[in-house]
Subunit: 421 residues, 2 copies
């Protein structure tokens, strides 16, 4: 079937034919349809009953091409099936933090889901200096539940292996393999360097051996370590928040991969927000430090909260099921020691992935608004250099940075040290 984007009227009529959605939205003739997609990939619509604005949904549709470019850049619509499957799975595990799916149509490659009308994108909130008191608790809960329940620590081996096969998502994984783990370290035409970024900083990404080796290790882990069902693109633009609630959206990159990749994405984006605060926080002569400290505190609370909840889920499940991953242990000393060891290894992975994610946001084609929005080229470049220095340290020292507090200390030191590389 040739793909045609819906007109407003067609979409309203389509939704009127789906009983569950019609029950939610009311009469198709009353529906306002607004196309709001600003991403590169998909069409996104807000559909609202004009007579009862509380009755609304989001419709997301994946065309069989890269929307930004058009039909000349084909992209499999299968990505919508991955997104729907992941939304349902994560929603079952963590219903408070995942939008509800009302309807999915695998022939039309669309999903109808909960409209988060009173929430905003976390990245925007952080740029404005907003504080979300429940954010760290919510994200650590989301991460602990989604990462634990997809893994061999919970699932029976046959279920886990078939889940991993069903989640193969090579087309979107290939985008990450290229744009996160490969191109940023090359002299690649897709890279975009800001005007004042020193050549030495760019050269260092290409030539510093420990950094190249660490990045390649993370790429190998990304491609091979099928540990759990990941969101796969968990930056602060995939998180919607308000004072009371936190939702994780857009899991179209979902696949079975290394746990640290999702946690690392969150940490990377908090660190990008931290360093870019040196501009955002100074507007009107203010002092950025208080909000920067709040950002680091969130990073620390997210890791520590995630880690504590993950171990708690693990312990509970093993004491209920009487099966222990490492095997029986009469004294439970080895059991406890292994869990601590596992979390240290996971922190190292997390920091390595965070480093790669930060680097791609500085020199790769996909940027983050908190940095591109900085108008002064030199201020921007100084911030970018700090991000790169932090990213390099995370990658190269990932196994020796023993806890998340040390990462916060590292970030503060790099922030204080105004000398650039």
């Amino acid at each position: 079937m040739e793909f045609e984007a819906f007109t407003a009227q067609e979409l309203a009529a389509y939704l009127g034919d789906v009983p569950d959605v019609r029950a939610l939205l009311g009469d198709p003739d009353d529906l306002d349809v607004v196309e709001v997609g600003d991403g590169n990939l998909n069409y996104v619509y807000f559909v609202t009953n004009a007579k009862a604005p509380g009755r609304s949904v989001v419709v997301k549709q994946a065309p069989p091409f890269l929307r930004l470019v058009g039909k000349t850049w084909p992209l499999s619509c299968q990505r919508m099936e991955h997104e729907v499957a992941a939304l349902r799975r994560f929603g079952a595990l963590c219903p408070r933090h995942v939008p509800k799916v009302y309807h999915a149509d695998s022939k039309r490659f669309l999903v109808v889901m909960q409209h988060l009308a009173s929430h905003r994108i976390l990245r925007q909130g952080l740029m404005d200096g907003a504080m979300y008191p429940r954010l760290a608790d919510h994200l650590s809960t989301y991460l602990a539940h989604t990462l634990f329940y997809g893994s061999d620590l919970f699932l029976a081996p046959d279920i886990k292996k078939h889940a991993a096969s069903a989640a193969v998502n090579w087309e979107l994984c290939k985008i990450t393999e290229d744009l996160v783990f490969t191109f940023p370290f090359e002299d690649h035409p897709s890279n975009v360097y800001s005007p004042a970024l020193p050549q030495a900083a760019i050269e260092r990404l290409r030539t510093h051996e420990p950094l190249r080796i660490a990045a390649a290790d993370m790429k190998w882990a990304f491609m091979n370590h099928a540990e759990t069902l990941l969101h796969g693109d968990l930056h602060t633009g995939s998180i919607m928040v308000n004072e009371d609630e936190t939702f994780v959206i857009d899991p179209e990159f979902a696949f079975y991969g290394p746990m640290g990749f999702d946690v690392g994405a969150v940490i990377a984006n908090l660190l990008l927000a931290f360093f870019s605060r040196d501009w955002h926080g100074r507007i009107d002569g203010r002092d950025p430090v208080a909000y920067q400290e709040w950002l680091l505190e969130q990073m620390v609370r997210i890791w520590n909260g995630f880690s504590a909840q993950f171990v708690e889920l693990w312990r509970d499940n093993e004491s209920r099921s009487k099966r222990r991953f490492i095997g029986a242990d009469a004294e439970s000393r080895a059991l406890t020691a292994y869990r601590a060891h596992f979390m240290r290894r996971l922190l190292a992975d997390t920091l390595g992935f965070a480093g790669c994610k930060m680097i791609r946001r500085i020199v790769g084609m996909a940027k983050v608004a908190e940095i591109t929005r900085i108008p002064d080229a030199q201020v921007r470049a100084n911030i970018e250099v700090r991000c790169l220095r932090c990213a390099e340290a995370l990658l190269v020292e990932r196994a020796t940075l023993g806890d998340i507090e040390q990462v916060a200390t590292l970030a503060r030191e790099i922030q204080r040290d105004i000398a650039t590389m």
Copy 2:
């Protein structure tokens, strides 16, 4: 279809109906059929033309149960499909070291393949003190080719990911997860301890934290690191040899797993042969040292030969394809450094897996003949304790044992040190 093992006549008639096999074997009326399977799982037949004994094949058939126990222990016949797929794949990559498949029947769960009439099982040869001058070259070639060509270093990401899904073999993987990585470290009813094995050595497997943690790390890697298509059970009973040729047989445990698992199996079994030589080599008052040194030399040559060929395949492929796993590197210094780093990491994995494999052969239910054949309980226990000490060192020190020569030195030191734990 209810499974019934073939009678000799039925099998001859069946083979006569397969044109390719009939062309090979000749008239069904001339065929001698001998059931020779001594394994726990399958039926194995030698089928030979009585008038022309050079015309012969092996037939292997997987009943839908554990043959050793019978229909009360069901086991999926799918394992034969995994074995056939792996034989074909490995045969294409390494035709000199994999028996030819003449015919496979997925309804009857059988395969007809090359009869290695002048070869013997390597484990038997090593017990007799035979030396195979080409063994190390052949095994390093087999390992380098099979492990490299299934990995992301060669395959396109979509092909690799679909190959990994197609190779899911959870039922046989579960056997390994339990028998190699879990039960040996527990007080498990399936374990079998030799009469004089000191209780302290058994306790140490259960309580020594660094050992338990290392074994759990290897289990996690086995279950999660889908690096390449493995043989999955590459001990010296899966290798057939003569002076000139080496064949790897029985890949029914094949799945996408960590490369070090196959290399580690070879090394573990050479080390078991090395330590057990202290009895086999002393029969009739002889000195075991010369043959023990030959065994260590094979271990060193297999690792070093494998490593050199693997890196060579990697380099050749990247220079032909112009695509480099770590990304472009103008100076190729990082490229070379990463390859060395990759092989050090692979050696660490290899030694960790070798350690687990050695331990399961000492205390688990599946033993090796070179040790069970030792009649003197105290001599046997001394050898077993050395095997366990070596295995523990391989596991716990796997990341610091920097090259295979250090492993040989370690083995010699443990052999010399007659004091037990």
